[in-house]
Symmetry: C2
C-alpha cells in the first residue's frame, strides 16, 4: 500500500505516522514539542521528526510529507504562532534534508478536513479541537472556509473577557486564555487539563472554578459563533474533548441560557479522537503529490 | 420599463418604491412603522403599504412584490423579530389583497445582495446595516451565507457584555443593546442616534459616553467577526453609518487595539445609503417572477 508521511505539531506533543489514501494511520509515534525551549528548537525538532518519518522503513517508502502546524499558515510559510512565538518560517526550514514533495498546512483546518472525509461530516459544521491552544475549522456549505486571506477560524483569540487574562497572542481576555488545555493547566498549576477535570470531579473547589470559567468562556464563544454562522453542529476535538460529558453537559446548559431566541446546535465530541490531526496532515501529504 | 414593487420594513421607517431590473428606484416613499402599537398593527401597516405599492399608477403596473423584514425569516414566514415581537407570520398576512407574485426575505440579507449587485461588491465581506436594530449579511466566497437553517448573521445579538443591558430579543448584553440606533437613542433619551452623535460632537458628556460605549461594543463584535471569518472588508450601512468618520475613526482605532496579531480589515460605509434596503426588496420581487 502507498503511504505519505504525516506530522501534526501540537503545542505539547508532535504526532507522526504514515497515512494511506483511505486515512488509515500506520506506525503512529509521539514526541514532545520542546515549546519551552523557544521557536528555534521547535523548528529543529519538527525538522528531525519529519526527516525520520520520510525515511523508508519496513518496506515502506513514503511518497510525500504532510506537515500541519498551528497559528497563521500559508502553503509556503508558518506566518505566526502564539504558542511557539515564530514568525514567517518557510516550509523548507521544517523539512531540511527531506527529498520528497512537502505540503504545509494549518493543523486545525487539516484535522477538520479529516473530520469531513473520515469522521462525522456535515455541510455546515464548526470543528473545534481544544488542546494546548484553540482554533476552529469552519466547514461552510460543505467546504472549509479560510476567509479572505486564509486566516479565518481564530476563535481561540476572540475576546470573551475584554481586558482579562493575558494570552500568548499578546491580547487579553481571549477564549484560549481561559478554555485551552494549556491555560487551564497553568491556571490550576498542573501539567494537563485532564488533571483539572479529574480534580474538579473529586470536589476540589479551585479546580472546579477553573473548569467552570473555561466552560463559561467556551459557552460565550460558541453562542457568538452560533448567532453569526448558524451551524448544523459543533464538533469538539483535541485532548480536552476527552472530558466528554464533564465538558458537554454544562456547556450545552450555559449555551441554552445565553441564546435567548434560538436553540443551540447539537454539540458532540469528535469520532476520530487524537488521531484526526495526523490524518489531516496525511491529507496534506497526499495533496503534495 | 418594467418594475416590481419593493417594500423594506425597518424598525422605525418603512421604505417602499418601484425597482427596475438594473436597481433603479422609482417613486420612493416612506411611512412610519407603528412599532410601539404592537405586531398586529405593524402587520396591518405593511399589508396596506404593500397593497398601495402593488397598485398600477402613472402607467406603471408592477409585476411582483418583494418584501424585506427583519429577524428570522424564511421564504414563507417571518419566524421571529425582536423589534416587532412577532412569531411565525405567514407571507400572506403581509400582502392581503395583493394579486401579484410575492417574495418574502430578510431585510439585511436582501440589502447585502443589493450591495453585492449594485454597490461596492467584494468576495468576502460583512455588510452591516445599523439602524433601529443590527443584523449582518455575510458574503463568503462571493455568495450570501445563511447558515444551516438560514439564521446566520445575527451579529446584533452576540453577547458583548454578558449579563449587561437588556435587549429586545430577551437576552442581556447583546451588541444591539449598546450599538443599535434604537438603543443609543433610548439610552440617551432622544428620538434618533444621529442626535446622540451630534450632541457628542458638541461636547455633551452623556452623549459622548453613550456613543463611546456603542463604538466599544461594535469594535468588540467586529474584532470577533474578523478573527472568526477574516473578511476582506466590512461595509457599514443604515442610518448610523451616516455618522461617517465620527463612527469609523474611533472604531478602527479600537479594533486595532483589540487585535493583537493581525490588522483590522478595511471598514467603510455603504455606497448605496438608505436605499439599499429597497433595492434588496426589489431583488426579492424580481426573483418572485
Amino acid at each position: 500500500m502507498d503511504y505519505v508521511a504525516a506530522l501534526d505539531v501540537g503545542g505539547t506533543t508532535m504526532k507522526g505516522g504514515l497515512v494511506a489514501r483511505d486515512g488509515t494511520v500506520h506506525d503512529l509515534r509521539r514526541r514532545p514539542t520542546p515549546r519551552a525551549e523557544g521557536p528555534e528548537r521547535v523548528i529543529a525538532a519538527i525538522s528531525a521528526f519529519a526527516a525520520d518519518l520520510a525515511r523508508p522503513r519496513a518496506g515502506i517508502r513514503p511518497l510525500a510529507v504532510g506537515l500541519a502546524v498551528p497559528g497563521l499558515v500559508t502553503a509556503t510559510h508558518a506566518v505566526f504562532s502564539a504558542a511557539f512565538g515564530w514568525r514567517d518560517v518557510p516550509v523548507a526550514a521544517f523539512t531540511e534534508g527531506v527529498d520528497l514533495p512537502v505540503a504545509l498546512g494549518h493543523d486545525v483546518r487539516s484535522a477538520g478536513e479529516a473530520e469531513m472525509a473520515f469522521g462525522s461530516g456535515g455541510d455546515d459544521v464548526l470543528y473545534l479541537p481544544i488542546g494546548t491552544g484553540i482554533a476552529g475549522a469552519l466547514v461552510l456549505s460543505k467546504a472549509l472556509y479560510g476567509g479572505a486571506g486564509g486566516w479565518a477560524g481564530q476563535i481561540g483569540h476572540i475576546p470573551v473577557r475584554p481586558g482579562g487574562a493575558a494570552c500568548g497572542c499578546g491580547g487579553r481576555g481571549c477564549l484560549a486564555a481561559y478554555a485551552s488545555g494549556g491555560a487551564m493547566a497553568a491556571r490550576y498549576g498542573v501539567d494537563g487539563a485532564e488533571e483539572v477535570a479529574r480534580r474538579a470531579g473529586e470536589g476540589d473547589a479551585r479546580a472546579a472554578e477553573v473548569w467552570d470559567e473555561a466552560v463559561a468562556a467556551l459557552a460565550l464563544a460558541l453562542t457568538t459563533y452560533t448567532l453569526l454562522l448558524d451551524p448544523a453542529a459543533i464538533v469538539i476535538g483535541g485532548g480536552v474533548a476527552q472530558a466528554g460529558g464533564t465538558l458537554l453537559v454544562p456547556l450545552r446548559e450555559r449555551m441554552a441560557g445565553l441564546l435567548a431566541f434560538r436553540r443551540p446546535p447539537p454539540i458532540r465530541t469528535s469520532r476520530l479522537g487524537a488521531v484526526a490531526g495526523v490524518m489531516g496532515a496525511g491529507l496534506l501529504g497526499w495533496r503534495a503529490l
